[in-house]
């Protein structure tokens, strides 16, 4: 009798965490990855991993507060039970990673050192130098190698996931993969398939993501019937170093230490920036936000830099939008002491010393909050039922998704240092659910008739062969990809306008038609990266369309999704009674907006256009409240909102018992 097996697609933090946990349960695992798993994109995370800890706890922190910060930071667009469970597992996950040998920074007494990150008042973030993601990934990679050595995990590195195998009853029974070296296509029977393939940054051309982040695996699941949740929510980081190949992060601390952002008043002034006199420089953040200057919140900085380049045409370079981030007024020694590490990164990749020459930076697509729709089983205390096979399962039974490719944890916006936690957590919570699933199912997928699996393989083989036959004269997939990236970056990143989104949607449909006719320049049957890339490009379109459609239909601003035509304005009145009346109206509008738009976007694949529906969000633990950062009249709005919340609590007698519940936080971000 064949033994049950689980296939994991993707070997980043989520995939490896699930793999080692399943192996511990005695379940055999196959692990498929585009790259050797040690080279997965998780290595790029620098900052750290959040959890409430012994120190912060004594300063008033709690797992609940971490949960609250995450939900508030995400503008309430995530189901609360999984987020709550994650926050409560946080300290335990850091303990586990500590036991696995992660070289976390230490305090003089030998405890884990912590730093403070955005969106919280507590020092929750454990870190290992400037390479926390790499260090966490390596610890898991080492454990997986241990299980690989003992034969419990089998790795398929340099393999591409081509799609799930779904039977007539709509149940996933395995997947089809392709060896990127030999180009062999093979069916893998599996009693559960877990997709942990990360974000889809390459849809935007260049981003902060790695080259394996094509979104291909997620798209192939979506095209097989898995729903997408909140596809339009894509986080853009304000400061990245534009490179010809990718955009690399420049930490916010450069501005924190006095960095000034400016552009020459003369568009594309070709002079050496240091020779441009002060009166011909536009310090636009300082001019527009005299109070906050260069340290405006992340989303505002992102929007302003984008606006000055794209809409005002004041980019430093003509072909590549960027602004100056200038540190040259700060003494060298001080820069080395405070910012040494990050300045070295700039120097290494730009070949320019940022202590002598202003850096060129621009916002970059950084993280996908949305992704494959997954379920969960809520427990009596509002968390998750550990061991439920419903946790992290998509709408296709036995097909799971976790890590950045799911939509579960970050709502409309992700807090810094929460992604490493959500990836490891989702991996660890998926494993016991799958153990239950396997125990409750009879037999193994491998016992199904081979003809069933052969058929799935044949379908993909034919598709592949057809692609190889397309030579000469067709469209160039690399140029199509570049164009797709340009269209998406212009319309669906920082500032979104319906006219632009509609136009971009049409353009993307047009490019999709071109891509369908793309010609390959390599028709070989050995390590053919050209055809693999072409496939990935073709599969970017369904997700790109879901992003655009979701963004177009969401006429509001929430988290990373900002529509200037649909925002909540500051209060204009100054006279107290009028101001109060205006605040009442503001709160009415906010409540109406919450009612209409506090819903997850659900995209269902169809060949022409994605079908968009909406799903209610479980906000049963923490009632939604407005984010008021930077608004004029915030105090009055806060006052009105507090009174309303108190009245509601008095009326139905609940909510107040929830710690930190109906509190309006102003300026926490």
């Amino acid at each position: 009798m064949a033994k049950q097996r689980v296939m994991i697609v993707g070997g980043g933090l989520a995939g490896l965490a699930a793999a080692m946990k399943l192996a511990e349960f005695g379940i055999d695992v196959d692990l498929m990855s585009l790259t050797p798993v040690k080279r997965s994109h998780s290595v790029c995370a620098q900052g750290g991993i959040n959890s409430c800890n012994d120190l912060t706890r004594q300063q008033g922190d709690s797992e609940w507060k971490h949960f609250d910060d995450t939900v508030y930071g995400g503008d309430f667009l995530q189901h609360q039970p999984p987020v709550k469970e994650m926050a409560y597992w946080g300290p335990k996950i850091i303990d586990l990673m500590d036991r696995l040998g992660v070289t976390f920074n230490r305090t003089p007494e030998g405890f884990l050192d912590r730093r403070r990150f955005g969106g919280t008042l507590y020092k929750r973030t454990a870190f290992a130098g400037a390479t926390t993601g790499q260090q966490l990934l390596y610890a898991l990679d080492e454990q997986v190698r241990r299980w690989e050595t003992s034969g419990n995990i089998k790795k398929y590195e340099f393999w591409d996931f081509l799609g799930p195998i779904v039977d007539d009853n709509g149940v996933c029974r395995g997947c089809v993969g392709q060896d990127l070296v030999t180009m062999e296509i093979r069916s893998f029977p599996a009693d559960a398939v877990i997709v942990a393939s990360g974000g889809a940054g390459l849809i935007y051309g260049r981003s902060t993501m790695s080259m394996a982040c094509t979104g291909g695996a997620a798209s192939r699941c979506y095209q097989a019937g898995v729903k997408l949740g909140n596809p339009e929510f894509v986080q853009v980081h304000p400061t990245a170093i534009p490179g010809a190949d990718k955009l690399r992060l420049m930490s916010e601390s450069a501005r924190g230490e006095g960095g000034r952002v400016w552009v020459p008043t003369k568009p594309q002034d070709p002079r050496d920036p240091k020779s441009i006199p002060e009166n011909e420089r536009y310090y636009f953040l300082e001019a527009r936000y005299p109070k906050y200057g260069n340290l405006v919140p992340r989303d505002i900085a992102t929007r302003e830099i984008f606006d000055i380049c794209v809409n005002e045409g004041l980019s430093v370079e003509k072909d590549r939008p960027c602004v100056y981030l200038d540190l040259t007024h700060i003494p060298r020694a001080e820069l080395n002491r405070k910012l040494g590490g990050i300045l070295e990164i700039y120097e290494k990749f730009q070949g320019v010393d940022p202590r002598e020459t202003p850096m060129k930076i621009f916002p970059a697509v950084h993280y996908f909050m949305g992704g494959l729709w997954v379920d969960y089983q809520k427990s009596a205390d509002g968390g998750l039922v550990v061991g439920s096979p419903k946790n992290q399962v998509t709408n296709i039974p036995n097909l799971y998704a976790m890590g950045e490719c799911d939509y579960q944890y970050h709502g409309a916006n992700r807090l810094g240092a929460n992604s490493l936690l959500s990836c490891i957590f989702s991996g660890l919570i998926t494993a016991p659910g799958i153990q239950t699933l396997l125990q409750s199912s009879k037999g193994a997928a491998a016992e199904l008739p081979t003809s069933f699996f052969d058929q799935a393989k044949k379908k993909h083989q034919e598709k592949h062969n057809a692609l190889l036959k397309r030579t000469g004269g067709g469209e160039n997939p690399y140029l199509i990809h570049q164009e797709l990236g340009d269209v998406m970056t212009k319309a669906a990143t920082v500032v979104r306008r319906n006219a632009q989104l509609s136009e971009a949607y049409d353009k993307v449909c047009e490019l999709e038609t071109k891509a369908a006719k793309a010609a390959v320049s390599d028709t070989g049957t050995w390590t053919n990266q050209n055809v693999v890339f072409t496939k990935a490009v073709i599969d970017m379109f369904p997700i790109a369309k879901a992003i655009l459609k979701g963004a177009l239909l969401r006429d509001e601003s929430r988290g990373a999704h900002f529509k200037p035509d649909h925002t909540f304005a500051s209060l204009k009145a100054t006279e107290p009674t009028a101001k109060r009346a205006e605040a009442e109206k503001w709160c009415d509008d906010f409540e109406a907006n919450t009612k209409q738009y506090l819903k997850s976007t659900i995209a269902t694949y169809s060949a022409d256009h994605p079908q968009i529906t909406y799903e209610d969000v479980d906000t049963s633990l923490i009632p939604p409240r407005p984010r008021l950062y930077g608004l004029v009249g915030a105090e009055t709005i806060e006052q009105v909102w507090k009174e309303r919340s108190a009245a509601k609590v008095a009326a139905n007698g609940n909510g107040a018992s929830v710690p930190g519940g109906a509190k309006v936080a102003v300026g926490a971000h």
Binding site: K38, R99, G101, R145, R146
Partner: protein, 296 residues
């Protein structure tokens, strides 16, 4: 196919194959040592790439992939190469660039052209070529299995925090833990020689994999694995299996093969103190040998 179109750079004093001083060439030549598959002959192919600001070797290969035409005007297949993070933390994109082993993501075109008027790319020579610039570094990962480069925890249930460590211990282990398995140290090592096996006719994949592994285990393990063995022998829990790691280093292909050329530490892109690890391993294996004489 020389592209003479301007690229927006006002100061383009040095045209053509120049690249000196402040000027940028309009385009530059790239020589790539290509090989279609294992066992096939290799040959140099020349491409001309239009100059753009802020280019690295990755973007050069991306431009070639989008337009794979040689200087002779011949349409060829795109060059195959390996890369992922492009931030020098994943270790994927190692190759030999202008004669020096390094990561191609951090190899900047401006700097390369300042040294040489053209760019020369070839695959690492110590690993079997899969295709073009892509090599099979499976042996490198096998070495990590051999030295049991992991902390042997009981399991993954919640058992509280790990052992306390001092700041100085963390400062010693963190640099070793930055090893990204890129293989630069192995390429530069005179004792590390290429192992390239081919599957016999009729040999099953499993048998071939086993034979490869056995051969890898007989050959030099390499500086990276010695350093990883020392990393885990320093960890309070890892140390509990220290003897096993030392025994692995004392087997055929182990530490004794090291010829102390010290090339490894010179080429490591992460500046890992590999020779310090090798020295430490030398002392520890000596002690271990004496222990074994006394039957411990």
């Amino acid at each position: 196919m020389v592209d003479h179109s301007h690229n927006g750079h006002q100061d383009s004093g040095a045209h053509g194959d120049g690249g000196h001083g402040h000027g940028h060439p309009d385009s530059f030549e790239v020589r790539v040592l290509r090989q279609a598959a294992p066992g096939q002959p290799s040959e140099w192919t020349r491409f001309r790439v239009k100059y753009e600001s802020d280019m690295n070797v990755i973007s050069v290969l991306q431009r070639i992939a989008a337009h794979p035409v040689t200087v002779e005007g011949k349409h060829v297949t795109p060059v195959a190469w390996d890369c992922n993070c492009l931030e020098e933390v994943c270790g994927a994109c190692t190759m030999v660039i202008n004669g020096r082993v390094r990561q191609s993501c951090s190899a900047l075109v401006d700097k390369l052209l300042a040294e040489n008027s053209e760019i020369e790319l070839q695959p690492m020579t110590k690993f079997p070529v899969v295709r073009d610039l892509m090599v099979d570094r499976g042996r490198l990962f096998r070495a990590l299995q051999k030295v049991e480069a992991w902390v042997p925890v009981d399991g993954y249930f919640d058992m509280g925090a790990g052992p306390k460590l001092s700041q100085s211990e963390q400062e010693q282990t963190y640099p070793l833990s930055e090893c990204m398995s890129c293989g630069c140290c192995l390429e530069a090592c005179p004792q590390y020689t290429k192992v390239e096996l081919t599957q016999y006719e009729g040999e099953s994949d499993a048998d071939f994999a086993k034979r490869k592994q056995e051969e890898y285990d007989r050959q030099f393990i390499g500086a990276h694995a010695i350093s990883q063995a020392m990393l885990f022998n320093m960890h309070p829990t890892g140390k509990m299996q220290a003897a096993k790691r030392l025994d692995a280093l004392m087997e055929e292909g182990g530490l004794a093969v090291c010829g102390n050329a010290q090339n490894c530490v010179a080429v490591c892109p992460k500046h890992i103190p590999l020779t310090t690890s090798i020295g430490r391993a030398g002392r520890a294996t000596t002690v271990r040998m004496i222990q074994k004489w006394f039957g411990k």
